[in-house]
């Protein structure tokens, strides 16, 4: 009787008890990127940005970044063009201001939570009502929501104040500590931005991202493959709107005032520009775009009369020449650098 020859693959196969590897997107160390960003921002920005006006801009940047990341979830990831992000910011601002006015400034964090919850629920209702509409009609419907909001809010005086202007909103307060200075507020706001970025990372490394891209790129085929297209799009619309609500609440407590004038159509377009400038295919795009959006007009103030033209021209150049936004430039530089490095190491070996 001859001894059967065992294939060398068999022992390896029997010994291999490893779990199946997850898709590549799970193995990217995005969370480390967020940690590096947060640490760098905490170490550098408070030392560089010292004047009161610049600190105010810096805090605006964090708030706008959160609103723009929300818009990235709605438009960049889920592919739905919503024109109501500023409406959500306004609603979030009013809700948070109302909570701290009614319950006291010490309930600041509850105000933020209420703003997030209210905008998420409201967005989910809009999402359900417009679930079967095409992209164009969804955009128009959300634009209508914003316009109706701008008319209705001034009439809800018990919530929004006279003429839709809430003034005297208390500054952020945590655990009995009132955050009065720009730097104090920055620590809170950069913490909130980091939290939102962590949510963005977890979202990128989840089945929801895959479903969202499937729904965005080819909804009909995604439906036949069992992807819950409507549910996914409503979820991301609610999530993105909640980020808008949080952003609005932050701005309210930062500036002490919320009014319909500051959250009109121009800011809607501004948020779209933040995403477009930064790059609409990454959650880092909105953060970069918001910085660009906040800082550039300040830099260009010296040009006074030409400010609008130069600003518009810059936007035009970026949009035409950089279809993937500023983040795309960074990505190209990294890829080129990696190629050069690989070529150099290959040549030296």
């Amino acid at each position: 009787m001859t001894t059967a020859q065992t294939s060398p693959e068999v022992p390896k196969l029997l010994a291999d008890r490893s779990l199946p590897k997850l898709p590549g997107v799970y193995r990217q160390h995005q969370i480390i990127g967020v940690a590096i960003f947060a640490v760098a921002a905490c170490l550098i920005l408070p030392r560089v940005v010292t004047s009161l006006s610049d600190q105010s801009l810096m805090n605006q940047w964090t708030a706008y970044s959160i609103a723009a990341i929300g818009f990235y979830w709605i438009f960049g990831l889920a592919g739905r063009f919503a024109f109501c992000q500023t409406f959500m910011m306004l609603l979030g601002g009013y809700i948070s201001a109302w909570v701290t006015r009614e319950l006291g400034p010490q309930w600041f964090l509850l105000g933020l939570v209420a703003a997030i919850a209210a905008t998420a629920v409201f967005a989910a209702l809009i999402g359900l009502a417009t679930a079967r509409t095409g992209e164009f009609y969804f955009a128009i419907a959300t634009l209508a929501v914003t316009e109706v909001g701008l008319i209705v809010f001034p009439k809800l005086t018990s919530l929004t104040g006279a003429d839709g202007q809430t003034i005297g909103i208390s500054p952020p307060q945590i655990g009995g500590t009132v955050l009065l200075t720009g730097e104090d507020v920055f620590w809170l706001f950069i913490g909130l931005l980091t939290l939102v970025l962590v949510v963005a990372v977890l979202l990128e490394r989840s089945p929801l991202r895959r479903d969202a891209i499937a729904a965005r790129d080819n909804g009909p085929v995604a439906r036949t493959a069992g992807v819950p297209v409507v549910k996914t799009q409503i979820t991301l619309f609610a999530l993105g709107s909640a980020a808008g609500g949080l952003s609005g609440a932050m701005i309210g407590h930062l500036t002490g005032t919320i009014s319909t004038d500051s959250f009109g159509l121009s800011l809607s377009i501004g948020i779209f520009l933040m995403l477009l400038l930064g790059g609409s295919d990454s959650y880092w795009g909105p953060v970069l775009g918001a910085a660009f959006y906040v800082v550039i007009p300040q830099v260009l103030t010296s040009l006074q009369a030409y400010e609008t033209i130069v600003y518009g021209g810059l936007l035009l150049v970026v949009v035409i020449l950089l279809p993937h936004g500023l983040i795309g430039v960074g990505r190209s530089v990294m890829v080129t650098g990696r190629h050069l490095w690989q070529r150099r190491t290959a040549a030296s070996s």
Binding site: L19, P20, K21, L22, P23, G24, V25, Y26, V199, L202, L203, S206, P207, L208, R210, D211, I213, A214, D217, N218, P220, V221, A222, R223, T224, A225, G226, V227, P228, K231, T235, L239
Partner: protein, 275 residues
């Protein structure tokens, strides 16, 4: 695979009539004033592969669209005895009807693996709250989905592409990726719309082998194609359509001798040549 139990005595698998898996009665589809499919009734049995042929515009793809819920249709469809609401892709998916489209429908922003994983029937911990709050459970279920998707890629002969970008696939590989996505969804009924279109002879042969390997006593396949030899090799029964109507239905050997089929395919050419 999630499949319906096969009743005792089922033959199917090209060995004769098994129990009905899909029964469609009086299916009609209209686009405005145009009736693309007119009162078509067809039965697909467990383990059977039904070929659908006909000239361009005869309503073959539209019939598949009606079965997969992509278009609104009238008539009745039952899957393994359960009535199915028409015009709802998700309902069709839930009933086990999976579709491969005429043109490859690859998601280039996703990897090959992700393209396949999306059709998984395991949806546990895949929503927002599951993804945020139940990370370990979500990851375990993702591993399950990965394992299954890798099997589907292997069955369809493109396992080597796995986690690579789908944007770099050749046309033929994209077709196989679509097939893997459908296979991953554990179909009871697989609808293939011109799967060999755009493939050369070697690729068509490989596709035929893959589809032959997929055949099980539970799975029903409906394949629309223009390559008659491909249909002949694969199908146990052929449905011929012309101008939205089902004009013939039977074994391939009989179908090609049927005068109505000859008229549908060749008649007009012969007529016009005579005139």
């Amino acid at each position: 695979m999630t499949t319906a139990p096969v009743p005792t005595g089922a033959t199917g698998l090209d060995g004769g009539p098994g129990p009905a898996l899909l029964e469609a009665q009086g299916i009609s589809v209209s686009f405005g004033g145009v009736r693309a499919v007119r009162d078509v009734s067809v039965t697909l049995r467990h383990g059977e592969c039904l070929g659908v042929v006909g000239p361009n515009g005869s309503g073959k793809s539209t019939l598949l669209n009606a079965f997969s819920g992509i278009v609104e249709a009238s008539g009745t469809v039952t899957v393994a005895g359960t009535p199915m609401r028409l015009g709802r892709p998700r309902v069709a998916y839930d009933q086990g009807i999976c579709r491969v489209f005429q043109a490859p429908q690859t998601y280039e922003s996703l990897s090959c693996l992700e393209n396949v994983m999306m059709s998984s029937r395991n949806k546990r911990w895949s929503g927002f709250l599951g993804s945020m709050l139940g990370r370990p459970a979500m990851r375990n279920n993702e591993r399950d989905r990965v394992e299954r998707a890798r099997s589907a890629l292997t069955v369809c002969g493109i396992a080597s592409r796995d986690d690579g970008p789908s944007a770099t696939l050749t046309y033929g590989q994209r077709r196989l990726l679509d097939l893997a996505r459908a296979v991953n969804a554990a179909p009871r009924i697989l609808l293939l719309d011109e799967p060999s279109a755009g493939l050369n002879d070697a690729e068509t042969r490989i596709l035929g082998e893959i589809l032959t390997n997929l055949k099980t006593p539970e799975l029903g396949i409906v394949v629309v194609d223009h390559k008659i030899d491909f249909i002949d090799r694969l199908s146990s029964r052929v449905l011929v359509m012309e101008q939205g109507l089902a004009v013939a239905d039977g074994p391939p050997g009989d179908i090609w001798k049927d005068q109505r089929v000859i008229d549908a395919y060749l008649g007009r050419a012969a007529d016009s040549a005579q005139h």
